[in-house]
């Protein structure tokens, strides 16, 4: 690696420095746009006690769900979980903690975290369990709760294409939480389907500028579909 070249050639290198009890922010919505290779590497490394920030926690045997198999996750910060039996089992047995966070608040926590904003007020969750114990303030006659932003030791991100400088483009709805996650990691690792040379991507079409990206790796992806729904041709 030299200059702005962010490319690494192995997942060992991509995830080097990840340790027990760290916080990992992951992009993805359901199984769409998830950093499959980074997740697999975290499983191989066997680090434990992780706090994982992700909208969902995969399914049994795929996505972040594989990190539950060896009890690597201590806490999930998510908006919707429990599509996997193992997740519910560990939750009910007290081996796993979950902090349910409204989806928009979760996205904004990552965005704010990456933008150096420590907290923000939102109407979402006021008057509900989510708002309990949080500061309330009235603006223009409406009540808002104070939500703290999130940053991670690592952010793991799935892009479509990137140039060697780490300028990333996402594909379709595989974008989801990935751009916010990319901004909120002390070390941001992006895996993509294709790495191109600087200059090959239109600068005005970049979703995640390379300044946020520390390590870039080209991966191969299964892209499993959670709910395959089709109509007659």
């Amino acid at each position: 690696m030299s200059g702005f070249d962010k490319v690494v050639n192995s997942y060992e290198e991509a995830m080097a420095g990840l340790d027990n009890d760290m916080t990992v922010i992951a992009g993805g919505f359901g199984l769409c746009g998830i950093p499959e290779g980074c997740i697999a590497q975290i499983k191989r490394m066997g680090v434990k006690g992780l706090t994982v920030v992700s909208n969902n926690c995969g399914v049994d045997g795929f996505g972040l769900g594989v990190l539950l198999e060896d009890k690597q996750v201590k806490k999930m910060i998510s908006s919707y979980v429990g599509e996997n039996a193992l997740f519910m089992k560990q939750l009910l047995e007290g081996e796993l903690e979950v902090e349910l966070t409204p989806q928009g608040t979760l996205a904004e926590k990552m965005r704010a975290g990456g933008a150096g904003i420590p907290a923000f007020y939102t109407a979402t969750g006021y008057g509900t369990l989510v708002g309990e114990g949080k500061d309330v303030r009235e603006f223009n006659g409406r009540n808002y709760i104070l939500e703290e932003s999130i940053t991670g030791d690592f952010a793991i991100v799935k892009g479509w294409k990137a140039d060697r400088y780490g300028n990333v483009i996402y594909r379709h709805t595989a974008q989801n939480f990935n751009p916010m996650a990319a901004t909120a990691g002390k070390i941001t690792v992006v895996e993509v389907e294709e790495i191109v040379e600087p200059g090959e991507l239109d600068p005005s079409q970049i979703h995640t500028p390379g300044i946020y990206v520390d390590r870039l790796i080209q991966g191969t992806f299964e892209k499993r579909i959670e709910q395959r729904t089709v109509r007659e041709a």
Binding site: N55, E83, L100, P102, Q103, G125, V130, N176
Partner: protein
């Protein structure tokens, strides 16, 4: 007769207007997309980051990178846009979505809604529901009037953990269309053949009944 799921969706579809951006929740609300009046243009917002959600794909069109908020494979209509989750919830929380239709377990006379959690049962999370009810001004709740055991879901006070406080003004059930104002339910329309007495009996919260309650027609 109580409304069928399809009739409930048809009735809500009459609230659509040309040029509306609409978010439809999972379940019966999704069916509203089947009854958009001919000649009317409506864009469906899917909170995972798609404005202009289209039909399910054909087998050949299936793309793992194109899903909706229910994680189903979908297509995009001509003129759609795709963006991040933060952008998506900026639209929702910033009040830019014209109509939100979602399901619920309970609604009360104060406009509170409970829709995401039944204590003691599996807890899966609120997803985007808390953002949707807090951010939208024009929300229609679609649900059955009473539980399978006959217990009213239109209450003086919600018994389940809230999704949002004081944010619901319109409810369509299988028996009636109601509005919430001044701490009361107001009966606006009734399902064809459903008596005002039955609606009164199945509404636990205070209900204002006008002299004439028109029947819905389909």
């Amino acid at each position: 007769m109580a409304l069928s799921r399809e009739q409930m969706a048809m009735r809500v579809a009459r609230e659509l207007q040309d040029g509306y951006y609409v978010n439809l929740g999972i379940g019966i609300p999704t069916l509203v997309a089947n009854y958009i009046p001919d000649g009317m243009e409506v864009m469906l917002q899917s909170e995972n980051g798609l404005l202009g959600m289209g039909q399910f794909p054909t087998e050949d069109e299936v793309d793992a990178d194109m899903i909706n908020a229910g994680k189903q494979t979908v297509t995009a209509v001509t003129g759609a846009s795709i963006f991040s989750s933060a952008e998506s919830f900026a639209m929702i929380r910033g009040g830019h979505v014209d109509l939100t239709v979602l399901g619920a377990f309970e609604v009360d006379v104060a406009g509170n809604i409970a829709s995401y959690m039944i204590p003691g049962k599996l807890i899966k999370g609120m997803g985007g529901a808390m953002d949707l009810v807090a951010g939208a001004d024009n929300i229609i709740v679609l649900m059955t009037h009473a539980s399978k055991h006959g217990e009213s879901k239109l209450l003086t006070k919600c018994s389940l953990p809230l999704t949002g406080a004081g944010c619901i003004k319109k409810v369509l059930t299988d028996l009636a269309y109601l509005e919430i104002a001044d701490g009361k339910f107001h009966l606006i329309e009734r399902a064809p053949g459903v008596s005002v007495e039955e609606i009164i009996e199945k509404t636990e919260g205070e209900l204002v009944v006008p002299d004439h309650v028109p029947e819905m027609t389909f």
